[in-house]
């Protein structure tokens, strides 16, 4: 556990140090208009949606699955929010509706994968493609004229602050702890890892591998739903076409940077959050550095590749051996 955690943390530290060199007041944190303000806070603040999705993704990847539809699920839960607010529901209930819709989406994926036995990448591709369309149809329920809304409650969850700290960090911490208890303080984590490691053997051992996979997709759907709530409340408008676009890719990357393997069998919740922070720190750093934003994606890709190579024992040994030869010559 310790040795594996070193590399993503090291990558995060290196990026932050480089940031400090590029812009000397990078670490400054001030209080502006009753809340903390600064680059570090900004990174945490912006990383929340990706980190939420990545946590759910970590569970699904633990079962040897994958969920490409998380962005679409976020779009659907966002569309549900705008629709139910327009319909006049109390805003607490609106939140329940949005999350319920996300859970139903997760259950749909779970049914395709665990029930019908469709390959996860194909099964979730269906909702990935159709989900944003569903979101746009939900917008039409109230005429499709103006999908924006005002909600003190929901916007408070997303963009508000409590005791100088952004509210969404509390929301995130709460959800993280909830998920951690669910995975590590019940036997669900063991069952997910056993299912991902060897579904046939888990079945013989008495674990209902299909039910476990189903549950994993529901959890992933719910986490994506929360990301949809945070993102939609932030812009207070339902925008199914572009909300959480490509978030599935960042989430999968976060899981992998955190040490998760697409071959399944292990869940690392804490490291997944670190993975999401690495990605967000990188994005923020590029913006701050003054480089044209066009470089953003390429640099991000290079750094991610570098972190992944660092994680591979074989690659590290190869690089070390090559360097050693250089030194001796």
């Amino acid at each position: 556990m310790q040795s594996r955690a070193v590399w993503p943390l090291l990558a995060l530290a290196v990026i932050l140090i480089v940031d400090g060199i590029i812009s000397p007041n990078f670490y400054d944190i001030r209080i502006v208009e009753g809340r903390l303000f600064g680059n570090l806070i900004d990174i945490l603040y912006r990383a929340v949606p990706t980190a939420l999705v990545a946590l759910g993704m970590a569970v699904v990847i633990g079962t040897k699955g994958i969920d490409l539809s998380v962005g679409s699920i976020a779009a659907i839960s966002g569309a549900i929010i705008a629709w139910r607010i327009q319909a006049g529901d109390p805003h607490g209930l609106v939140l329940v509706w949005a999350l319920a819709a996300a859970a139903v989406c997760g259950a749909w994926n779970g049914a395709l994968v665990a029930g019908l036995g469709i390959q996860p990448i194909i099964a979730t591709l269906i909702l990935m493609v159709s989900g944003r369309g569903i979101g746009m149809m939900v917008n039409l329920f109230y005429g499709g004229t103006d999908p924006s809304f005002q909600s003190a409650f929901l916007q408070g969850l997303s963009t508000g602050s409590v005791l100088y700290v952004p509210t969404r960090l509390f929301v995130f911490t709460g959800l993280f702890l909830l998920l951690w208890v669910l995975i590590r303080r019940t036997a669900l984590g063991l069952f997910v890892e056993a299912t991902g490691g060897n579904a046939a053997a888990s079945n013989i051992a008495g674990v209902n591998a299909r039910l476990i996979a189903f549950v994993a997709y529901v959890i992933c759907g719910l986490m994506a739903g929360w990301a949809g709530v945070i993102l939609t409340a932030d812009t207070h408008t339902s925008d199914p076409v572009s909300v959480a676009l490509y978030i599935e890719l960042d989430a999968i990357l976060a899981v992998v940077i955190g040490g998760g393997s697409l071959a399944g069998g292990r869940i690392y919740l804490g490291m997944t959050v670190i993975g999401a922070l690495v990605i967000q720190t990188l994005t923020t750093s590029i913006l701050i550095s003054g480089l044209p934003p066009e470089y953003n994606l390429i640099i991000k890709a290079l750094v991610v590749l570098f972190v992944l190579v660092l994680q591979s024992d074989k690659a590290r040994q190869g690089i070390a051996a090559a360097l050693w030869r250089r030194v001796r010559q």
Partner: protein, 504 residues
């Protein structure tokens, strides 16, 4: 047999090959005569495939010599073996169904300039290959539109070229019906007449007698016998395949056989599933060890899985005393107090990436339900207890289970079952592929569990193991339960006679 005959096509001497934790081939000799069909027999894990892979260069041997027509050879790859005239057709047809017969026959053999295929020449060559086997197949039809038998023949045609001296067929008849099989045999005979030697791997004894000139039997990585097929009786052959001299431990047990006593804990009535196992009746009693004997493919594994609910029966009822109907799913069976240690450790037994501890607690955790987690301290205590009780050789409980040797992995599977505190334990090949020491330990353990009041069903391909460790023996043949013997009737000869059937 040891003398080298000049007309030998292949001579293998003292072949050894070890995999981590298991000696797959131990000093094996194999002689393939010129233009003969030679059946290679043995149970799962006997070493048939390994021997073939060593012959065809797919695996490097640890020791021993191979000679092709008297000349020592050393193959670094299957390509070299093929160039020397040894071709192999594997069990699954390794061709592409969506492509045409012509494309399949040409695939990977395109020697055209700049890699460009001359289809005209390819067509002529493909036709020649088919003619060699006397096959009439439309070259342009998709391979997948032909029957499995034809696909198999095309695979053979593809493997054969003008230089082929030795053809290896790995279970070619496994998915063929009787008519297709006889068509395949026709082709095999005509190849033999043209001077090609054929190694024929199968587990259908009837086919061995129908087609082969000689046979060799492997068991646990050793050659146990070979000879002319016509001179080898069916009973003798079965005894070779699944017989074994009694070890000390087992001999000691054979004396203390006990009569069945008490009420049955598990009662199967008419349980079966089409094509897997004909409906059977079976009772398991507390404190009694029931052996399950039969050849490979007779339905041993299927019976254990049907009883456990890992395969859902399509007929009959399964009742457990005090629990009513059971067998709906592995989870339900586990909850009712059953546990299964499956035959295939790697595929169905263990979660290789998880630690020894996690594997051991998996079943008991599944029994307790996901909400009632076994605490880490408790997990460690149980794992340590099991590691001590079963003498599992591992530095600690946190080691990934895939890094353990075969025998120790088997013990972990057993530990997992025992940790769930079952009343009925189903063991499928508990001693397969493990070393002699672990073998004896597991037999001692089986006996001890039984004395503690567990109901045991032990499926085994080793007849002497069944004889020595069972109070009652169920015999299977051709996916049918053909009888049950107990007490003094349990002898090796009796079981062999039952397995061989009337025509033996």
């Amino acid at each position: 047999m040891q003398k080298e005959t000049p007309q030998s096509a292949v001579t293998m001497r003292g072949i050894r090959k070890a995999f981590p934790g298991v000696q797959a081939l131990d000093d094996v000799d194999f002689d393939l005569g010129a233009s003969e069909i030679h059946a290679l027999l043995g149970e799962n894990g006997a070493g048939k495939s390994t021997l073939i892979k060593v012959l065809t260069g797919a695996l490097a041997r640890d020791g021993g010599e191979i000679a092709l027509q008297g000349q020592p050879v050393e193959f670094a790859s299957t390509g070299e073996a093929q160039a020397a005239g040894i071709s192999t057709v594997y069990q699954e047809v390794n061709l592409i169904p969506a492509m045409s017969v012509l494309q399949n026959l040409t695939l990977g053999k395109t020697g055209g300039r700049f890699g460009v295929i001359s289809w005209r020449r390819a067509r002529a060559q493909a036709q020649e290959k088919l003619d060699r086997l006397g096959l009439k197949v439309d070259l342009d039809r998709a391979l997948g539109s032909h029957s499995v038998a034809v696909q198999q023949m095309v695979a053979i045609a593809r493997a054969l070229d003008a230089e082929t001296r030795v053809l290896v067929l790995d279970e070619p008849t496994a998915s063929l019906d009787a008519q297709e099989t006889s068509a395949l045999f026709e082709v095999m005979r005509s190849l033999k007449e043209r001077g090609i030697s054929i190694v024929f791997i199968t587990h259908f004894l009837d086919q061995v007698y129908e087609i082969s000139d000689r046979l060799t039997v492997l068991r646990n990585g050793r050659k146990v016998g070979s000879g002319r097929t016509a001179e080898t009786g069916r009973q003798e052959l079965i005894a070779m395949m699944i017989g074994r001299e009694l070890g000390e431990v087992e001999a000691a047990f054979a004396g203390e056989r006990r009569a069945a006593e008490g009420e049955p804990v598990l009662t199967a009535r008419n349980v079966g599933r089409k094509r897997l196992l004909q409906p059977f009746d079976l009772e398991l009693r507390a404190g009694e060890a029931v052996g399950l004997s039969g050849l490979l493919g007779s339905g041993r594994t299927e019976m254990t899985k049907l009883l456990f609910g890992a395969i859902r029966p399509d007929s009959g009822t399964l009742e457990m005393r005090g629990k009513g109907r059971v067998g709906a799913s592995p989870g339900a069976s586990l909850e009712a107090g059953m546990a299964l240690c499956p035959e295939d450790r790697k595929a169905e037994g263990l979660v290789g990436e998880l630690s020894v501890r996690e594997n051991i607690v998996l079943s008991m955790q599944a029994k307790r339900g996901w909400l009632n987690r076994v605490s880490r301290a408790e997990q460690e205590k149980i794992a340590d207890e099991m590691i001590r009780a079963l003498a599992i050789a591992t530095p600690d409980a946190e080691k990934p289970v895939r890094q353990l040797s075969g025998g120790n992995q088997q013990k972990v599977v057993l530990a997992r079952a025992l940790a769930s505190q079952p009343r009925i334990l189903l063991l499928d090949e508990p001693t397969r592929g493990i070393d002699v020491g672990a073998h004896a330990e597991i037999l001692v353990l089986i006996r001890k569990l039984c004395a503690e009041g567990l109901a045991l069903l032990v499926a085994s391909s080793e007849i002497d193991e069944v004889v020595s460790s069972s109070d009652r023996v169920v015999v299977l043949r051709d996916r049918r339960k053909i009888g049950e013997i107990s007490g003094g009737e349990i002898t090796r000869d009796n079981i062999v006679t039952m397995i061989a059937g009337n025509d033996g």
